[in-house]
């Protein structure tokens, strides 16, 4: 599984990254967490609000810091 955090490095993006890490750890799933900070890459996801989170290329969260519990839902 591939989890991508889309965001240009604002504090909220870091918070989302940390929550995603916590979610992956708590579930014990095999997942690679990747940070995408390049704006041109972010745009390719069709995202207009950062931070965003995509699982296997599918955007799941847009424009908010989802909690670890919320992210868990998308990883199962």
């Amino acid at each position: 599984m591939k989890v991508q955090i889309l965001g240009t490095g604002c504090p909220k993006c870091k918070a989302l990254h940390a929550n995603a890490e916590a979610a992956v750890k708590a579930l014990g799933v095999e997942a690679e967490i990747q940070k995408i900070e390049d704006i041109q890459e972010i745009i390719k996801f069709g995202v207009m609000m950062t931070p965003a989170l995509a699982v296997d290329g599918q955007v799941k969260v847009v424009g908010k810091v989802a909690s670890a519990d919320e992210i868990k839902k998308y990883l199962q």
Binding site: T8, C10, I39, Q40, K44, F45, G46, M48
Partner: protein, 356 residues
């Protein structure tokens, strides 16, 4: 609830109970809120005079009473409005706004964009992806700018502070002139045909790159949560600015003699409006910190137009946002953007000094 209960699935019934509970809590909360809010002035006077033993006519006493009244008042208004706006915003996603604006002609588009800029969720850190998303799907450049100008300038925090500290009349003036500046500045930028001043890779982007994300469907539970999250995030971020701003305002209120600023920021000083804007543009503060200070200045002889222009330029144009936008805009376009918006604000300042 006349429907037979056994028609509802257990999860639906649970949701019904949750909604009923939420409504009860909200009603109770609103009642408590109103009782406290309507007694704030008495409370502040009582605390200052009876508990602290200060006279309202002394410098310190009037500053303390001002602070004890204004700080809780503005914070309470802030919680209420941010919560409501958080819910309203769940109905306006950037995707939906973009879909509305994509097919519009310029003039109509500018008006719509400025209006939608108020209700669509926006944070300056998302300015670039939003800008790209709009331009890519065929929203005209000038229309996109109307949105980008209105979104930060007319926001819920600014409206709360203006309403709480200046009253409805000045709030309406700020709202109306702010919208006008956003509409006209966007329209002018559109007329100037600035498309060639985008960074080359932006123009090279093809529309097919924009994959549509499906927005998540929200029920009322989700919308209430969004309101609560908005309160936690926005009030959590600005409460300190509010308190500091009101503290500075309270100091000015208590200690600066009335009319001390008439010569410096009054109507007779013609240069004060452009100077206020010039000072305001690079300054970065959200509405929360600046409005209480401006309110206090106004009480000491500053002219309304000058104060309004200062406030608008601080809130609408900021250095950090320009740096972020530099990723997609060439310096010429950034310069034009600042110049057009700043001229609009200066004009607003003069008009108000003239008529009020």
């Amino acid at each position: 609830m006349s429907a037979p209960v056994d028609v509802l699935r257990p999860d639906q019934r649970a949701r019904g109970h949750a909604l009923g509970g939420a409504i009860a809590v909200a009603t109770l909360g609103a009642a408590v809120w109103w009782i406290v809010y309507s007694h704030l002035a008495q409370g502040a006077a009582w605390l200052t005079q009876s508990v602290l033993g200060l006279s309202s006519r002394s410098h310190l006493g009037s500053a303390v009473e001002f602070f004890l009244y204004e700080a809780p008042k503005v914070l309470m208004l802030l919680v209420l409005v941010v919560f409501s706006v958080g819910i309203v915003r769940t109905f306006f996603t950037p995707e939906r706004t973009r879909a509305i604006l994509a097919g519009k002609r310029e003039s109509v588009g500018n008006v719509l964009a400025a209006g939608l800029g108020i209700v669509t969720p926006f944070c300056s850190c998302s300015a670039v992806p939003l800008f790209l998303g709009f331009v890519q799907s065929g929203v005209p450049l000038g229309v996109t700018f109307s949105f980008l100008i209105a979104a930060p300038m007319i926001n819920e925090v600014a409206v709360v502070l203006l309403l709480g500290m200046f009253g409805p009349k000045i709030t309406a003036i700020y709202f109306g002139t702010g919208l006008t500046v956003a509409i006209l500045a966007g329209w002018i930028i559109g007329r100037l045909r600035m498309e060639k001043h985008l960074e080359p890779w932006v123009s090279a982007m093809s529309a097919s790159d924009a994959a549509a994300t499906e927005s998540e469907r929200l029920d009322w539970d989700g919308r209430l949560n969004a309101g609560r999250d908005a309160v936690r995030e926005i009030v959590g971020k600005v409460w300190l600015f509010v308190v500091l701003g009101i503290a500075v305002g309270a100091g000015i209120h208590g200690y600066v003699p009335t009319n001390a600023l008439a010569g410096l920021m009054g109507k007779s000083a013609w240069w004060s409006v452009p100077l206020a804007v010039l000072l305001g543009v690079p300054m970065y503060s959200n509405a929360a910190g600046i409005v209480p200070v401006v309110q206090a200045l106004l009480g000491k002889g500053a002219a309304l137009g000058t104060a309004l222009a200062f406030m608008m330029s601080v809130i609408a144009l900021s250095l950090p946002e320009m740096i972020i936008l530099r990723k997609v805009l060439r310096p010429t376009l950034i310069g034009v953007f600042i110049a057009v918006v700043a001229s609009g604000i200066v004009l607003v300042g003069y008009v108000f000094n003239l008529v009020m």
